[in-house]
Amino acid sequence: MTEPGIVALVGDTDFDGRSLASEPDAAGHPEIAVARQLFPNADSRIARSGADADVARLEATGLNAYFGQRHTVKDVTLALEPRSVTAIIGPSGCGKSTLLRCLNRMHETVPGARTTGSVTLDGEQLYGGGTSAIAVRRHVGMVFQRPTPFPTMSIRDNVAAGLKTRPGTPSRARLDEIVEDALRRAALWNEVKDRLGTGAIALSGGQQQRLCIARALATRPRVLLLDEPTASLDPASTQKIEELVYDLRSTVTVGIVTHNMQQAARVSDRTAFMLDGELIETAPTNTLFTAPRDPRTEAYITGRFG
């Protein structure tokens, strides 16, 4: 008889997510053997502990996306590397937002939308294999172009909103901790710490967007996707958000879509350039902007179109 749901804390193991009991051979992995000894009856899952557990690699392979007959994302292969910020740039309509939305299975919420290809999160298939879209979205968070705080909720309730669907109810104290932690990571804590109970819509646009980031972070997603997050904000708020995105890299894998090349240059480690649904080029940001390989990339970044 197994005891379900016990999670074994192990160190930096490659078996993250797999079942203790099912691993036939623990040779070369003494931590597995130790865990088995400690929890002989556990039907447990192996997970990483500490900040390392947040490290995640999100990889799309041969990804295609359609709106009905319109082929918007064409055979894209792209990886969001762990602990880094990857920017996706390209002219309007090139499919970068659609691509991003495929990564957390939001694309399929549109009637008539279709995806083929594969997306994996640390090796786990996000499409198919019986994985539910909802589960995916709990591990891959998203912030949209327009700030969307829930208008009927206070700042605190907004940040904690994502926790409602997780199993178990944290205590009030624990909740406050989570909220504070998320707001700090979103660089909003100091501005709202005295009015957590007030309405979220009273905040300015830039603050609302940081609130949405905090809301996404509160659930500790492994990946955070940002779809043109500063497009509707003023320069001061834009700068604050760019700084916090830059800081987030140490704890979350970040993918950011932006139409602002300077922004991409400022915050990202790697940049991908898309054109007409195709991924033209991916490179470390510096390289892409100083020595792009593809002539189309060069045309775009020198402002010849887009």
């Binding site: 709990r138 969307t148 206070s154 409602k164």
Partner: protein
Amino acid sequence: MSTTVVPRSTRMNRVKRRGMSGLMVTLTYVAAALATLPLLFIIAHIVKLGAGAISVDLFTKMPQPVGEAGGGMANAISGTLILIGIAAAVGVPIGIGAGLYLAEHKRTPLANTVRFLSDVLNGIPSIVMGIFAWQLLVRPVGHFSALSGGVALGAMIIPLVTRTTEEMILIVPNSLREAALALGYQRWRTSLSVILRTAMPGIVTGALVAIARIAGETAPLLFTAFGNQFWSTSLRQPIAALPLQIFTYAISPYDEWHSLAWAGALVLIGIVLIISIAARFATRSRFGAAVD
């Protein structure tokens, strides 16, 4: 495309046309004046004739037989409140549920049918609702009841609440739904905790407006609630109602009952007014800013 035909412009012609135009414009002013008169007349009469008969007794005493002094409409007022309570309990949940369905299924055949039939339901004369409720709920049990009256009124509320609910939910921006889904919310939780919750103030307003509308209905109550000269709060007994009482008093031959009818009309309009004002307040969101 319409073609505008303008008569050839000669001097005589121009004068005539301008005169005609002036006349017609004046006529519309007259029409506007005439159209606003009845309301002012009616309100004036109600206030003048009703205020005179208003007293504390009106709200605290039962009706007395003719000739005896005193007497009030306490049972009718409470009866109306009970009836609209039943109507709300029956009609508002169904209306909200149907409105949710329509907002989410938009143009499917079933949704279109329901939307169309809801409009049809809205246009059914209230007397027809009354005889339907009688046939369904009074005839089988052999006696009138507050419940049957409340149900008749509730059925009339349904199309109104359905329409406002659908409208209010469609106003909620889709980006909110996306934000909730992106957090990992299930579809049902998104619809209820986020969308419905955001639309709530508008929905409550719509429900209150609908309730104010049926608070004054008499015809559906004629053969269901029927009226009662005594105090009653039982659902299974006939019950007094303000509109019914006004009707009875108005068509009676007694002067003192006539003035009670005016007083009752004033109270009824007052109740409708209070509910309408409450509806305006409902549009303010919890956090003070008016949600539009």
